[in-house]
């Protein structure tokens, strides 16, 4: 796979717009849905070296776009997403479209139904352009451990990064983060306006952060998990990735709410049609958890954290240090609980009803064993083994029950902080910007997950909403993002604060090495900043 010299062309101008902007352009007739869809698919092809997509659904996408055009032409668009191209992580079921979880186990599997969140987007007229790459069964934090290979961070193909690199673009590139790396890369590389990820321990926010896109992990239960192939049922949530907070809010409004197919979903609180344009940040109290000054936090990231905290303070918000004493134990407990549910959830993959089946069939047990050995990678197998160990009758109290108790304490910590008057917590999303692939794979998946998920997974343990917003580029030219954590079901308030933050930080538009018309791009960046800031 080689990176072409001119990857992102300004011809993709339309592609770098936000959903709000492009939706308007569609209605104004400045672009048609089929044109837009074609551009996205072209962009996917042009950036195929990123390895962000597993399946490209060009044909059905063009049909959907055609229908959207018909509606728009007759003045009856279905809503703000009608005709908007989107992509979906390949662990969400899509009817009649392969859903692989980047695993040999589900290679070629075609689900007979669509996940509720996917269906809701389709029902709104959004156009599905493809299924995105990930770590196998979403187990990982780098998008380096899927059967289809690692995903490359689009920002490692920008002029800034390439100019610093002395190496070949095929050997020196940064990871996308994971496990929803493909979705993050798709949004960052302008091949989708919106992508769905899943977030169990940070799998939406981590790649969102490293790829410089807005990534929202909603409150647990606010979005249906029906059709999301589970990792940890008690922590999984569908995640939303866009290039602006406003867009994320638009999508949240469409996806949220009770689903009779998922008994853990809750009624969504009533939300206004869009985020408030005028919002007084002085009413907000921002908590800075001191335990998030973790070892390994990069100076760039720390600097961003301080800078944004200062921005809040200068704007009149109350900024206050808080303590989450049990946070340090969270990652260990997360791993125990994660492995237990993984062991249980993966039990259904026996080669009998669907998916890979071994040719060894000397006995039922032999067939199960070889099917599972051949179908799962090392990471998955290890988690299954650990999980089954933790769940043994003699170990259950020592591991599972203890981890659950700790989970409650972690949740209590967060509740107490919010009870004390804090509205949102401001934290780093990851320890640093994206690692070079060659550096990242020096350590195994287990170690990397523990490092990468350290700031993100406590939120999953407690079921709270969190959003990551890119704030600046590191010295290496890679995105650095900060995370805002909100109270249960206060997703809207969280996004309101995130929107304010986004307006202050002026994160740049991606600008790829080899893009010729720089002035056009610059104008685009200004336009977009202006729109968001207005």
């Amino acid at each position: 796979m080689s990176a072409p010299s001119a990857a992102f062309r300004p011809a993709a101008a339309m592609l770098s717009l936000s959903i709000r902007e492009v939706s308007q352009a569609l209605r104004d007739g400045r672009v048609s849905a089929t044109e837009l869809c074609r551009k996205c698919i072209d962009q996917i092809q042009r950036t195929h070296y990123l390895n962000a997509f597993i399946t490209i659904t060009g044909e059905t996408a063009m049909e959907q776009a055609q229908r959207a055009d018909n509606r728009i032409r007759t003045g009856k668009p279905l809503g703000p997403l009608d005709g908007i191209p989107f992509s979906v992580k390949d662990n969400f079921c899509t009817e009649n479209i392969k859903t692989t979880c980047a695993s040999k186990m589900l290679k070629g599997y075609v689900p007979p139904f669509s996940a509720t969140v996917v269906q809701k987007l389709l029902d709104q007229g959004a156009v599905l352009v493809g299924k995105t790459n990930l770590d196998e069964f979403a187990m990982g934090a780098g998008s380096t451990d899927g059967v289809f290979g690692p995903i490359r961070n689009p920002w490692s193909y920008t002029t800034l990064y390439r100019e610093q690199s002395t190496e070949d673009p095929d050997s020196d590139w940064a990871i996308s983060g994971g496990s929803s790396g493909g979705s993050a890369a798709a949004v960052a590389a302008l091949s989708s306006f919106l992508a769905l990820g899943s977030d169990t321990g940070g799998s939406t926010r981590n790649p969102g952060s490293l790829c410089g896109v807005v990534a929202l992990k909603p409150t647990y239960g606010l979005l249906s998990r029906h059709g999301l192939i589970p990792l940890v049922n008690s922590m999984d949530v569908p995640g939303i990735m866009t290039r602006s907070v406003h867009d994320a809010a638009t999508v949240l409004r469409i996806l949220q709410g009770r689903d009779e197919r998922d008994s853990t979903t809750v009624q969504a609180p009533s939300t206004p049609p869009s985020l408030p344009e005028h919002f007084d940040i002085r009413d907000i109290c921002v908590g800075i958890p001191k335990e998030y000054h973790a070892p390994g936090l990069s100076t760039d990231t720390l600097a961003q954290w301080s800078r944004v905290a200062a921005m809040f303070e200068q704007a009149g918000a109350r900024v206050q240090e808080v303590s989450l004493p049990h946070t340090q134990h969270s990652i260990v407990c997360y791993h125990v609980l994660c492995c237990c549910e993984v062991a249980s959830n993966m039990a259904r993959f026996d080669g009998l009803e669907y998916g890979h089946r071994s040719t060894i069939d000397s006995s039922t047990d032999a067939m199960y064993a070889t099917t599972r050995h051949e179908g799962f990678n090392n990471v998955v197998r290890r988690r299954i083994l650990s999980g089954n160990y933790f769940l043994l009758k003699s170990n259950y109290e020592r591991y599972f029950v203890k981890a659950q108790q700790m989970r409650r304490l972690i949740t209590e910590d967060l509740k107490n902080v919010f009870r004390s008057g804090i509205d949102v917590l401001l934290t780093p999303t990851t320890l640093s910007d994206a690692a070079r692939y060659t550096d990242f794979i020096q350590e195994d998946n287990r170690t990397r997950s523990a490092q990468e998920d350290v700031f993100t997974q406590p939120v999953n343990m407690a079921g709270l909403p969190a959003v990551t917003v890119p704030t600046a580029l590191s010295r290496r030219g890679l995105p650095i993002s900060l995370q805002l954590i909100g109270q249960t079901l206060q997703d809207w308030k969280l996004l309101t604060v995130a929107h304010w933050m986004e307006q202050q930080v002026n994160f740049p538009m991606i600008h790829l090495h080899g893009d010729s018309d720089e002035r056009k791009l610059d104008r685009l960046v200004r336009e977009r900043t202006h729109t968001i800031g207005s």
Binding site: G108, P112, R225, P230, N233, R261, S344, T364, L392
Partner: protein
Amino acid sequence: MGVEVYSSLSYFTLASSCRLCKTTFTICPHTNTSMATSSSGYSRMFCKLRKYANKSQSLYHIDSFNLVIRRIWTSGSKTQLQPKVHTKSLPQMVGVVGLEVHAQIQSTSKLFSGSHVRFLAPPNSLVSHFDASLPGTLPVLNRRCVEAAVLTGLALNCTINRKSLFDRKHYFYADMPAGYQITQQRVPIAVNGMLVYSHFEGRRRNQVVTKSVKIKQIQLEQDSGKSLHDDEQSQTLIDLNRAGVGLMELVMEPEMCCGEEAAAAVRELQLILQALGTCQANMAEGQLRVDANVSVHRPGEPLGVRTEVKNINSVRHLAKAIDYEIQRQMEVLQSAGKVLNETRAFDSKSGNTIPMRDKEGLQDYRFMPEPNLPPLFVYKSEASVPAGVDPAQVVVIDRLSAQLPELPSVKRTRLVETYGILQEHSFTLVNEDGLMDYFENVVQTTKAEPRKVIGWVIKELMGNLNSQNLKVSQSPISPCALAELINLAESGHISSSTAKQVFQEMWKAPEKTVGQIVKEQDLWMINDKEELQKICRRIVDSHPEEVQIIRRGNKKVLNKLMGEVQRETKGRTDPVQVRAILEKMVS
């Protein structure tokens, strides 16, 4: 596309050998001689054992067999079967029986999916995405199943847990597609109940003894699919129609002592479930599956090592399997052997229990909470339903209590008290589906005493039904027709012996009315005094010897003359009238 789409009307196939098929049959030398033919109930078992003992005299010392027999007796109902002679100072060994009952919930759809529930549907035709464990599907609890469990819990005097939880129980088995079963291990829906049941004792088996057994818990859980093992082609076929059907698992404490008690308890449970409409409770169709935990010990000592007996498909076999197993364990212990904690299958052909190969040794089910189902809440009353929750969408105990039908024990008491019938007859009326209604219908449309009606219903009606293997609802004689017949007999228009004859005619020709049959066959009672006189005169004249004997004082011989009159008139005379006439003539 490569996806393995399961199609209806087809099985999932899986070429392999089956664990169950590798079962080795170990036959104990003590057991292969008897107990093979069908027997039910306790007294018959006793006869079998006697034969067994006699047959085996040449092989074994007789004393040990006497001991066996006596011990078996003590495991049975104590009042009748208690041995009179105690030869040893040690207390006698007794059997201890606990039951685990899986009752398939009668509902139109499965416990966690919308698939229909139907017996004998084409293979894999009732399988939803969830039932086939397609990844990404989630369980959605069926309220009807919860209501069935609560109703059953209420009928069995259980405490209903306002909050219960679901757990996953893991094991790999081809007919359990998710690799785990959703059940209620930690906090089940109902606990601490009691099942009251009765059985018969006494020489004529008409003495009703009432007993009770504690119900530890009732839990909701999923049924598994079915595996069919094709040994010839060495493959296993899977039918998932049953996978995910709602089950109530009822766990009874080990408080019973023999097969007959267990059988009576299960029979009563069947009646209760059927009355509630929560389970059809047909063991042969697998709607009710009973596993028996059996051990033996000396009273006062800790319970012995238990075995679990499975594969029992009728109440009759349940009694047999348990009694066999108690006897087997006693023999093992007596010959200084050890009872193994194992699962045994009942073989209905031989009447034996045989060890099943254990599912790969010790099973660790690795229980964990089911994360996709929030706690199940049921509410006491509509008033206790929290705000924001639609009372119509939740399970309310008071609402279900009000729906409880008349339970079998209450029915029986009412029948005895209202109609003055024997207790044993009340059992028959309630046991037979529809018989009680039939009886009450007849009683309401006839002037005859209920005690007379019961004779007709139990002897004539049930006799005919049983001999032709018919259900009450299939009776060719309606309650109305029977009432009409009884009325004719009561009013003296036909004699009681004629009535029985007419009953059989009606059975054969249900399209005819009682009146038609009586008229056609000329069965009306001869009430004309002169005609009666004539007939009697003929009989007296043709039996001079008998008349002589009567006149000499032997009045008994008058009965013979009466018999002759009956024969002559085909029973169409009133014996009281005939006797009076004959007495006059011979005096």
